[in-house]
């Protein structure tokens, strides 16, 4: 009993959004995985959730704040150490079109 069926069209749009290029084999495998996940979640529909507030956190904690005080200094050497390519202390990335 599939309520949402993952077809080729869905796969195509997911690939575009995730910026992935899959081979036919990979695509079929990913499609099966995604279908399994959806079916699993589908089980929740068997419950009556009328009147239940949507929950985004399981902890009963609110209002975790920091004060507006500068705590970080210049650590760009360390930060840029992770960059595959850099130039003049900036991250060098493929050209963006604008």
């Amino acid at each position: 009993m599939y309520v949402v069926k993952i077809d080729d069209k869905t796969m195509e749009s997911v690939e575009i959004l995730a910026q992935l290029r899959l081979s036919d084999n990979e695509r079929e495998k990913a499609r099966e995985d995604m279908q399994k996940m959806l079916d699993y979640v589908e089980k929740l529909n068997e419950l009556d959730t009328k009147g239940v507030e949507p929950m985004s956190h399981i902890f009963p904690v609110n209002n975790v704040f920091r004060e507006d005080i500068v705590t970080n200094g210049d650590s760009r050497e360390a930060m840029l150490a992770n960059a595959p390519r850099q130039k003049e202390y900036q991250y060098l990335v493929p050209k963006t079109v604008e």
Partner: protein, 496 residues
């Protein structure tokens, strides 16, 4: 009857006016404002403008795996302050969502924003244009983070990224589609800017990007109650660019409709040099941001007590202040309006007025010499730094007659540029008016002797000539005489 084009506030070409359909422009705005906090929204990195690239970054604002964001409390307070001033309802329970997209200015591959429960909603602002007063609805205000800055590198044919701005707090203020022309749009933006500046929530500079306005625009036949397809216009860096972009986009959409073609819902980028726009995003970039609640951030619960504290701390906003200046100080509506254009100027005026006990004179000095020097020195009103006490003592000295008006203006330039202490400066430079009656008498005699013709004219009833003679005496005295007193003495002498 309305003339064609009047409703759009824009002139249409004659061709379209001749008996063709009339169109109404429908405009809503999305305004992004960078909040004036010391640190970013989710980390303790500085937000200071103009730092060297990537010197204000950390694992959180560069999206390193496992880094955990913690919300800056000040951001919530500023967003609430703006929401209250814009007559909004407050979502007492709000939270953050992830907006997913891939672009190098966004190192997490998602922007933390608010979709489902934005902090403020359903507000309004009243604007005033030539056509009168009008309420513009505010759909919502939400908090989010800014992105990094991309610069194209010609040499490498690549892009360079600076993440100093990544994570700087923003509020996005989304209006209802209630505006009908550029005049209303600009009035709304001005109103928003004044409110936010008075609250100290941002400096709101369009040119520097601390305030950014995206224009959603559609056209429809006059009298229609349904909306046309809208486009979103970006890259508008000045009020002039906004006005031109509105005119241009209205024309473009009407042209499409007249040709029987459809307006496509898209984002367009305005090029103010070419005065045209072009579609910005290709179709694979379809707007599917797959929003979902951010699991790293806990919800924000706003208590009545917290809200009351913010309400109590709200400063007097521009309009209230301008009205008070008219009522309490007897300023004209025009003067009150000009002085309150900048909160800093208003404060300088008010403190000076209180110290010299002469609001009219304080207003004249702000409206006159202060604004003259602001223009001449090309500084922003917010950057003027003289102490109000210094201007007040200058005003009092003129009142006492110990310096002339002309000298006061000269000393004021020093006060404006260097905030000198005027009394000490007057003493040090010997600028006080000469009390020496003998010397003054000598100069009067000399001027009378040298200007026989003028003296005769005055004696035959030409009152105006006295001003000229006073001027001559002041010149001889190098401005160090009391012009009022010189006039009296001259009158006396000439009557003899």
């Amino acid at each position: 009857m309305k003339k064609c084009g009047e409703n759009g506030g824009l002139l249409l070409s004659a061709r379209r006016c001749n008996g063709m359909k009339q169109y109404e422009t429908v405009i809503g705005l999305e305004v992004h404002v960078e909040l004036a906090t010391k640190t970013k929204i989710f980390c303790g990195c500085s937000t200071k403008f103009g730092a060297r690239p990537n010197t204000q970054t950390c694992p959180i604002c560069t999206g390193m795996p496992g880094a955990l964001p913690i919300l800056n409390k000040r951001v919530v307070e500023l967003a609430l302050a703006v929401g209250l001033a814009a007559n909004c309802q407050i979502n007492r329970y709000c939270k953050f969502d992830r907006k997913n997209y891939f672009y190098p200015d966004n190192p997490q591959n998602y922007q933390i924003s608010q979709l489902y429960l934005p902090i403020c909603h359903d507000g309004w602002l009243e604007i005033e244009t030539e056509a009168g007063k009008k309420k513009i609805g505010i759909h919502e205000i939400h908090m989010e983070e800014d992105a990094g800055k991309l610069v194209h590198d010609e040499w490498e044919d690549c892009s360079l990224v600076d993440y100093n701005r990544s994570g700087v707090p923003l509020i996005e203020i989304v209006s209802e589609p209630d505006m009908r022309n550029a005049e209303e749009v600009i009035a709304y933006l001005e109103k928003l800017r004044h409110i936010i500046q008075y609250l100290g929530a941002s400096d709101c500079k369009l040119q520097e990007g601390s305030m950014r306005a995206d224009v959603n625009l559609s056209v429809r036949e006059m009298g229609s109650s349904s909306f046309g397809t809208r486009t979103e216009m970006k890259n508008l860096n000045s009020f002039k660019a906004i006005a031109r972009a509105i005119a241009g986009e209205r024309e473009r959409q009407i042209e499409l409709l007249e040709e029987g073609r459809a307006v496509i819902q898209e984002t367009r980028r305005w090029d103010d040099n070419k005065e045209t726009s072009r579609a910005m995003r290709s179709k694979e970039d379809a707007k599917d941001y797959r929003y979902f609640p951010d699991p790293d951030l806990l919800p924000v619960s706003i208590s009545e007590k917290w809200l009351e504290e913010i309400r109590a701390a709200q400063p007097e906003l521009r309009e209230a202040r301008a009205l008070r200046y008219q009522r309490a100080y007897g300023l004209s509506a025009y003067d009150a309006d000009v002085i309150t254009e900048s909160r800093h100027m208003a404060e300088l005026f008010e403190e000076t007025a209180a110290l010299c006990k002469s609001p009219k004179k304080a207003a004249n000095w702000i409206m006159g010499e202060t604004f003259r020097l602001i223009k001449e020195r090309n500084v922003e009103p917010e950057k003027v730094f003289f102490t109000p006490g210094h201007l007040a003592s200058l005003i009092l000295e003129v009142e006492k007659g110990s310096i002339s008006n002309q000298t006061a203006k000269e000393v004021f330039e020093k006060v404006f540029d260097e905030d000198v202490e005027p009394l000490a400066y007057i003493q040090a430079h010997g600028l006080q008016t000469v009390e020496d009656a003998d010397l003054l008498g000598e100069v009067l005699d000399k001027v009378i002797a040298a200007n026989e013709k003028a003296v005769e004219e005055f004696r035959s009833g030409k009152e105006k000539v006295l001003g000229f003679l006073v001027g001559q005496v002041m010149k001889e005295m190098r401005g160090k005489a009391n012009a009022g007193k010189v006039g009296e003495l001259l009158r006396e002498k000439l009557r003899q």
